[in-house]
Symmetry: C2
């Protein structure tokens, strides 16, 4: 089990205080946070933290392959440090995002001639069990 700062160093980026805190937060978060969520969560313990730093940092993490970016079409990007192949569900009522234990299909074989696949995303939208139950409201 590697310590967080080592993981950053292995990716060739300097483990600054801000980066390590943001990375830790992403690692333990299960809610696929937005930049705003990360910023608000860390602000109490790092009062000088800047939103721009969070933006810079998640962009950097994306580039070195520490996080994947999720876009549920709400005009806000979400970040996921879980890089294992899985899919995502967003509840259209409450906006919560859940992991789905389903691998996005590998379609490299089925692509038109000459096409190269880099990444696949499988997004599912609907109602989560909680919102489904209260559907009358």
């Amino acid at each position: 089990m590697q310590i967080h700062s080592e993981i950053l160093e292995n990716k060739g980026i300097r483990p600054s205080v801000q980066r390590v805190r943001i990375f830790k937060f992403l690692m333990k978060s299960k809610e696929h946070p937005t930049v705003e969520m990360i910023f608000n969560a860390l602000l109490p313990e790092m009062p000088s933290l800047s939103r721009t730093t969070v933006y810079n940092t998640v962009e950097l993490f994306k580039e070195v392959g520490l996080v994947q970016v999720l876009d549920f079409g709400r005009g806000v990007l979400r970040y996921d440090a879980d890089l294992s192949p899985h899919s995502h569900f967003e509840c259209e009522r409450c906006g919560a995002v859940y992991d789905l234990d389903i691998k996005p299909q590998d379609i490299s074989k089925k692509m038109p001639r000459g096409f190269k696949v880099h990444q696949t995303y499988f997004y599912v939208f609907g109602l989560c069990s909680h919102c489904k139950k209260n559907e009358k409201n």
Copy 2:
């Protein structure tokens, strides 16, 4: 083969000149246009057209189920009047969007208890054959 204005009427919306033109354009377009692309394409033949009308109209079309909205994470939404189950490929180099003849998997059966699936999207990113060929550049 229904005429375009009839399709709009069947969906319960008034077939105004603007709506019919926008709908026709979406039906024949294969490039999954953005609002800006629709606007620019129609402006020469309808000089009074407003961007806002295009925004209003595609939103209306989405609500009545005439188009689906695609989000490739570029900060712009694209619109597709082809509602048959298929997936989408975006070239990371040139930005072109291609239809893939692949049905997004139906996972209603595999969902956690109580969850309800409304829609699924399968997005693939990579290089199209043209950009792959010129990869050196």
